[in-house]
């Protein structure tokens, strides 16, 4: 009897201690959490929903959004907000080059201490932590990502042409004739602004690998290297095999027109772009992921880099103007939970958190997440790693290549990019 009493007391005390701990944790976060939030459209809605869920879990915290005013690239608006001296705790960021600028200006804080004192490190694999690490210090926590090595297609388009998703480069390029014969443009390349660079970057990843791309982005490799030329020559081969529309048509296409061609009308077979297409196809076209449309990984080239994937990611940075660090840490922790991932999954986006069960995703996201998780190396989209001047010049140089994909153009544009790169690092 005495033994049972002691056990009851212990259980009671343990329960009380756990409750006290939990309450203490919830009570520690209070006040206003200020977030520089530039997300719009479906992702903006998703963030609102995540914030509401966070506020429900932490009722003493109120989230206030500072919305930068900017048309096009949101970085301009974010810079204006920061230069205007706006106090905020968290910043949503998706550009590694911008992160470097923020670090140089001393506007964001290293998060290594938070990684050590929380479970962020357990929930984010090493590859994800490496993506937000600069000079040995970790400045970001990735909360969502997209597989940028995934090629999107409509299942009925492939059935119409009588082909299956290719696995190798030879199968890929060999299928162009079949698709053209069926009246389908194999690839829709939207080269009006930025999206054409995805193809070059995927080719560079397969032919030269992630490590080389990182060196190129950091200015440690030259644009006149053979690696860059080989990737462009592969693109030359694809163009010669009638992969795409003529150069001027590609230059007239914005990304949404290309996506419509591949995933709505079926005028084109493939489009290479980020995960937001999943939301677009589901919400705007009313299609079912996995049944009406699907995704396959960029074909293998047998050049030693077939198990590498290109990704984009969105992360949280903690600003040096932070006033509510506890709430900021709590929000980041929340973003790595299964509850947050479930909300993201509703909007067709994926969480990098290891706490998430893949079954919450639709088949397309499941495939993408599996590919990224199994990749040996992850490479961030190159265009977002390049400093401003070089990033602009890089996209224009690739437009020039698409207009006239000759060896002379390759020599000219690579020399030109090397020259611009000299002035920016």
């Amino acid at each position: 009897m005495k033994h049972r009493k002691t056990r009851s007391k212990t259980t009671l005390l343990g329960t009380a201690a756990i409750l006290a701990g939990l309450t203490g944790q919830a009570m520690a976060q209070e006040g206003e959490l200020v977030m520089i939030n530039w997300l719009g459209g479906a992702q903006g809605e998703m963030m609102s929903k995540l914030q509401e869920d966070f506020e429900a879990k932490y009722p003493d915290v109120t989230v206030r959004n500072v919305v930068p005013q900017a048309g096009g690239d949101a970085r301009g608006g974010i810079r204006a907000v920061l230069m205007g001296g706006e106090q905020a705790d968290l910043l949503i960021n998706t550009w590694p080059a911008f992160r470097a600028e923020l670090i140089e200006a001393g506007l964001i804080l290293p998060l290594d201490d938070s990684y050590a004192s929380t479970d962020w490190g357990d929930k984010l694999g090493e590859s994800w932590q490496a993506l937000s690490t600069v000079n040995g210090e970790n400045y970001g926590v990735t909360y969502t990502f997209g597989d940028r090595s995934g090629i999107w297609y409509r299942t009925d388009t492939m059935e119409k042409a009588g082909i299956t998703p290719p696995e190798t480069y030879q199968e890929f390029i060999g299928g162009f004739a079949t698709l053209n014969d069926a009246g389908i443009t194999p690839i829709s390349v939207p080269a009006k602004v930025w999206a054409h660079a995805e193809w070059f970057e995927s080719l560079l990843l397969r032919t030269a690998g992630a490590e080389y791309m990182t060196r190129l982005a950091n200015g440690e490799a030259s644009w006149t290297d053979d690696e860059v030329k080989v990737a462009l020559q592969k693109w030359q081969e694809m163009l010669a095999a009638n992969c795409c529309d003529d150069g001027n048509t590609m230059l007239a296409l914005d990304w949404d027109i290309s996506v419509d061609a591949a995933l709505k009308t079926g005028d084109a077979a493939y489009v290479l772009m980020g995960m937001w297409l999943n939301t677009r196809a589901k919400q705007e076209y009313g299609d079912t992921p996995g049944a009406d449309f699907d995704i396959f990984q960029f074909p293998t080239f047998g050049m030693g880099h077939d198990d590498e994937s290109m990704v984009d990611a969105k992360e949280f940075n903690i600003l040096s103007s932070v006033e509510n660090r506890e709430a900021a840490d709590a929000f980041i922790s929340y973003m790595l939970t299964a509850d947050a991932a479930a909300i993201m999954a509703e909007y067709g986006l994926a969480s990098p958190s290891t706490e998430v069960d893949l079954s919450i995703y639709d088949p397309v996201i499941q495939r993408s997440v599996s590919e990224v998780n199994s990749a040996e190396k992850l490479q961030f989209v190159l265009g977002d790693l390049l400093p401003g001047d070089l990033g602009s010049e890089y996209r224009v140089a690739l437009q020039r290549f698409l207009q006239e994909p000759s060896d002379e153009t390759i020599d000219t544009i690579t020399a030109q990019l090397a020259n611009v790169a000299k002035g920016v690092y």
Binding site: L102, L251, A252, Q399
Partner: protein, 314 residues
């Protein structure tokens, strides 16, 4: 006016001690009154125009990259600008753009105004419709023209195919040799309403007896247009040239939506160059220097015209 408090005792009918007495100052002179009335406007103008211009000129002498601290750089931004092939291209594009857009907008508007003046009552609806396009925002017009120029299901290519001119179809906004022309056509569509209205107003002010005399002398409509309406509507044409030229120099939205300055920078005006350098590459000093160049161009265009108009008014 000022309100003074007095402590002195008045006479039998004077104000009691401690009450307020209104002291009326002497009347303001005309000059003082003018400054007094202009003051709110001048203060607003100084804050919203003069200060930003001075700040832009100041920034143009600094090297500002991203969020890094600014460094004084003297005239280097200006020297660099004139050796930057992208800026020189944008100057050329701006020149072609401004001259073509103004020429076509004013010529078409003036021509339509002369035609409308032959029967003002029956052309009212037509004039309102044309002018409405001027009232539509450039962004809205941009999306409309984007649909017209689309390479796949665009209206223009559809019409060309429909009338058997399939060989003429092309990606109008993707071909560097047609993109600028295509954007100018869209821009002229948005701008033609203004010259139509200014020229029409000018024509309406021509004394009616001149027309009566011409018709009594047996003049045909063509002669009346050539010898009476055209020369006497020149004040309206000059105003239209002035406004359209200034509008074209600051045009941005339409170019942003239709081409984003491309393909291969073929439609990048100085205004767009400034946006790219300041807001995308975030080289604020360099972007400010290009703004100052654009400002000088606008002043070169506008000062002589303003002086001419002021002289005409005197």
């Amino acid at each position: 006016m000022s309100i003074a408090q007095t402590t002195e005792m008045g006479g039998p009918n004077g104000p009691p001690k401690g009450t307020l007495r209104i002291k009326v100052p002497k009347q303001l002179s005309d000059t003082q009154a003018a400054w007094f009335l202009l003051a709110p406007l001048l203060i607003f103008f100084a804050i919203s125009v003069v200060y930003p211009v001075i700040e832009t000129i100041r920034l143009s002498f600094y090297d500002i990259r991203g969020l890094a601290p600014e460094k004084f750089d003297g005239w280097r931004n200006y020297v660099k600008l004139f050796s930057d092939p992208n800026f020189l291209t944008s100057l050329k594009v701006t020149f072609i753009w401004a001259i073509s857009a103004t020429f076509f907008s004013v010529t078409i508007g003036w021509g339509l105004a002369m035609l409308c003046s032959l029967n003002p009552a029956k052309t009212l609806v037509f004039r309102v419709m044309i002018f409405a396009a001027y009232g539509v925002s450039e962004a809205v017009s941009g999306f409309m023209w984007l649909g017209i120029y689309r390479p796949d299901y665009g209206l223009l290519n559809g019409i060309l195919e429909g009338i058997g001119l399939s060989g003429w179809t092309q990606p109008w906004l993707g071909n560097p040799s047609t993109a600028l022309g295509a954007v100018i056509v869209a821009y002229v569509w948005t701008q033609v309403g203004l010259p139509l209205m200014t020229c029409f107003a000018s024509i309406q002010s021509i004394p009616k007896n001149l027309f009566e005399a011409a018709y009594i002398d047996g003049a045909k409509s063509g002669s009346v247009m050539r010898h009476i309406i055209a020369p006497l509507s020149m004040p309206g044409v000059r105003v239209a040239i002035f406004i359209n030229l200034l509008n074209s120099l600051k045009a941005f939205d339409l170019i942003f939506i239709l081409t984003g300055g491309g393909p291969v920078r073929s439609t990048e005006t100085v205004g767009f160059f400034m946006y790219r350098e300041s807001m995308l590459n975030f080289k604020l000093g360099y972007g400010a220097a290009s703004t100052v160049i654009l400002l000088i161009a606008v002043l070169i265009v506008s000062i002589p015209l303003i002086m001419k108009r002021t002289g005409d008014a005197k």
